[in-house]
Structure formats: C-alpha cells, structure tokens
Symmetry: C2
Subunit: 121 residues, 2 copies
Amino acid sequence: MSYEPINFAQKFSLFDDHWKPRVVAEMNDYQFKVVKIEGDFVWHEHEDTDETFIVLDGQLRIDFRDGSVELGPGEMFVVPKGVEHKPFAAEEVRLMLIEPRGVKNTGDAGGERTADNDVWV
Amino acid sequence: MSYEPINFAQKFSLFDDHWKPRVVAEMNDYQFKVVKIEGDFVWHEHEDTDETFIVLDGQLRIDFRDGSVELGPGEMFVVPKGVEHKPFAAEEVRLMLIEPRGVKNTGDAGGERTADNDVWV
C-alpha cells in the first residue's frame, strides 16, 4: 500500500488563527505541532522540558532575559528547560514545535493566551 | 547577547558523504541529525523507538514490507517502532532524522553500513 507523508504546506492551509498549535504527528511520547504566530507572546518557561522551534516560513525572534535569537526558514533552536522565553513575529511566521505530549504553549505562565492542548490537524 | 540558530544549509555545507548522520541539536534525550543519502540502504527496524524523517531537499522513498511512502521537501513521516523499513533515494536527498540519543542508523540489522553514533557537525 501507499502511505501518505505529512505535508506542512497542506496542514497550514487548514487553519488561519494565530498562537494555536495543532498536532500533526507523534513520535513516542513527543508531538510535532504546526502553528502560525504573529505579534508578541507572553514570557514563560517550561520547567520540565526543552522545546524545539523550527521555522518554515517568516522571521521569528525568541527573546530571552539575557538576549535573543533570530530564526528564518530552514533554521531551528532548542530552548532549554527552565529558560524564560518570549516568541515574537513582526509578520506572520509558520513554525513547527516539537515537545513532549501535554506541554502547554504558555508553560508556567498560564493565562488567557493558553491554547487547547492536543488539537490535531 | 545574540544566540545563534542552527541553520540546516550551513550544516549540510560541512560534509559530503552519504549515510553518515551528524547531530546538530539535542532536546532532552532526543537528537536532531542531518544526513545526505543516495541509493539504497539495508532493511532494518528500531525495536524500542519510533523514528522521524523530515525531507529538506530531494525525493525520498521509504519502503516497508507492505508498501512505501514518498516524501519531498517540506514533508515528514514517523516510522513506528518495530516496523521494518528501507530508505531509498534515486538522487541525493538531504534529510533530518529525529530519534532518541543512541539509536543506530541500521537498527537491529547492524553490519558494514552502521555509522558512528553521536557525531556532531
């Protein structure tokens, strides 16, 4: 039989909202999520896990308390666990997040920006 | 301070050999590896873990005992643990592998195609 790959562009065509990660695949107890972001997010950290950002389209900046990193398409960064960070996108960015199942987008901060978890697309 | 992202194109510029995965980042006990492949590999499986393939350039086919999947740039596939598979690339493919630290490229098969593990670039 012919199996189907996961196509990022096709997945991004299925939603338009920002800051709402959608799961596209799982590997053991980790999830691959696609998300569109634009503007500023909240400062937060993930106490128990690293978090991986891979930029697929656009220019992402991740601010830290002591600096920042800028990522374009074809670039990635792993934010270590326990490190406060705040993503920022002047224009829309399409990115992939990789992290253990159950991680909330707002980490320890919580609040109104917290997205529903384990939403698949 | 300004942190540096991991740039896939830059990493691929640093080596030319095939079937030799290089680690570019770690997330908890998982590793992100880049590898160039061309031609046929050996049938193998990973008994203890799923394995993620993300194609960055070229056309990859992964054969299974009951079929296959074709992946192009911007596509991914997670091979479930315990499922025999054999990657194939008619022309050079640049891809990213994501799997737990310590996973061998030839899985249970071993043999002369087994690459050194935990080689960073």
